[in-house]
Amino acid sequence: MPSRWRVALLSVEGLVKHFPLGGARAWLDRLGGQAPRSVRAVDGVSFAVAPGETLGLVGESGCGKSTVARSILRLVEPTAGRVTFGDVNLTTLSAEPLRRQRRDLQMVFQDPTASLNPRLSVGRTVEEPLRRHTTLGTGERRARVAEVLAQVGLGPELAGRYSHELSGGQRQRVNFARAIATRPRFVVLDEPTSALDVSLRARAILLLDELRATLGMTYLFISHDLASVKYLAHRVAVMYLGTIVEEASTAELFARPLHPYTRALLSAVPVPDPDVRRARIVLAGEVPSPIDIPGGCRLRGRCPLAQPVCAEPVTLREVAPAHRVACHLV
């Protein structure tokens, strides 16, 4: 379900997040008359998510996926750009209205252990969003906690436990429970399964999809695990070095990847059939530093298809219905 057919629930326009470099280097730059340099973690990202949809955001470590997530929730302040949630511009919201928006806008963090306060019981952890956003009494909150725990497949007896008494899978379910306690409309999932082992990962993915369907939520699903993305996401955006290089519906993207980076990424996925031989697309060299981003197409230095034209700036354009690619050669 392409987003342009419906009004987007969340839209991100031209999001930029630069982390200025400090230390001696910044001083030298200033002395040399240059602007101090910065890590360009997110460098102009735009996308929209329709209600009920799951948008997958994929890319390798360090490409800026998590920074996009943090910028949306304003856990880091974006350098530029605009995030609209419903009809609210989140980027300009002051502290208290932003805090109230968090009832509808939740996040599941990457590390299920580190994102739980070791000194709070499971019950208190899941109860907290209710305390902050609702006027429910103690008994009502307790009932709601039990209900939410049941929704994520945890028994009510776990409410008295502490994070260190739980297994990794249980911890992540507590994180899910905390995120959905206030019945948010939108949840950002920042690599929610990367800390789980493979056997638990599949079940967690199924649970997330079921929760979205039953509670009518919308997801931004950030992952580098293409199998999970293929299952969970309706649409996929591929990030490379702080920008989106390709965006299409999941079926379209996996069937007809157009950008050389997407192709390389997909060709790296192992196929569970030893007889299948595929052409593995290997990119040369390493990802350039996000401090020294090459001009033109960012993949230029590594792309097996690179042409002189690739030195020209490249933008995301629609090459097929609802299929956008940022490549001169497509």
Binding site: L73, L75, R99, R100, Q106, F109, P118, H133
Partner: protein
């Protein structure tokens, strides 16, 4: 449980016992002391250790054991109030500096640096000398010199805790900044704070005693260990050894006990040991 582990280590168990004895003695002083600590009895002036006066008597025939028990009351009360004030003030300042950062951090930390620039004892001495040596001023002087310890500790812990994912999660869930600090970050800074407070208690007792020893702390007739040691010191040459030995021993034992317990607590509450608990 840390307490069970603490009990397993004999030395720290003994130290914990010593603290307990001193505390109970201080709490129940009026009932435990065999004599009125201020009651002179010329008949037994400068009497040595005996069954009637287990720790001997002083120049006026006052029972030294009773005086020692009542003195411990003052020492512990002053050290405890100073530690409590310093901890409250230091933790608040440190939390503000660590969580807010920026100019708040600069302001607080430069203030702390200014206090730390003076040797703690000299500063305490100067304050009591300037403000007059009432018990309240002794408490204030010790509290002020101890504030930097807690400020720096909590600031450091806050800086660490602030960057954790659970701090971000607390924000995402809809906590206001003061709620994040109070309910999420601060409770995770408490273990090192307990260690520091225990160690600082010993140091505070030493400071009260030292100030009183040179006559700037607790004033007679109220007895105090340091002051009793100072009085007794004059009698060392004339052979009345009990007058200096027992108060000195009381100071040493109590300070040592707090330090030992503090050290053991530090080992037990070390985050790397947390899983073993």
């Amino acid at each position: 449980m840390p307490w069970r582990r603490l009990a397993r280590n004999r030395l720290s168990f003994a130290a914990l016992g010593a603290i307990l004895v001193v505390t109970v003695a201080a709490l129940l002083a009026p009932w435990l002391a065999p004599y009125d600590p201020d009651e002179p009895d010329a008949a037994v002036a400068l009497a040595s250790v005996s069954v009637r006066h287990p720790l001997g008597t002083d120049l006026y025939g006052r029972d030294q054991l009773s005086r020692l028990i009542h003195a411990g009351r003052v020492d512990l009360l002053v050290a405890l109030s100073a530690t409590a004030i310093a901890l409250t003030l230091g933790a608040t300042l440190g939390a503000a500096a660590g969580y807010r950062g920026g100019w708040v951090d600069h302001l607080v930390m430069r203030g702390v640096d200014a206090v730390m620039a003076f040797p703690a004892f000299i500063l305490a001495l100067a304050i009591t000398a300037a403000l007059g040596n009432s018990t309240a001023n002794v408490v204030a002087a010790i509290a002020l010199t101890h504030v930097p310890i807690y400020t720096r500790l909590i600031r450091g812990e806050m800086l660490k805790a602030r960057e954790t994912e659970y701090a971000e999660a607390a924000r995402t869930v809809g906590n206001r900044p003061h709620q994040i600090v109070l309910y999420h970050l601060f409770p995770n800074c408490v273990p090192p704070l307990i260690v520091q407070a225990t160690l600082a208690m010993g140091f505070a007792i030493l400071t009260v005693a030292a100030l009183s020893f040179i006559g700037l702390g607790i004033q007679p007739p109220q007895s105090e260990w340091g002051q009793m040691t100072a009085e007794g010191a004059g009698y060392v040459v004339s052979g009345e050894w009990w007058l200096v030995l027992f108060p000195g021993f009381a100071i040493m034992l109590t300070v040592l006990a707090f330090n030992l317990v503090g050290d053991t607590l530090r080992d037990l509450l070390d985050p790397r040991m947390r899983g073993v608990r």
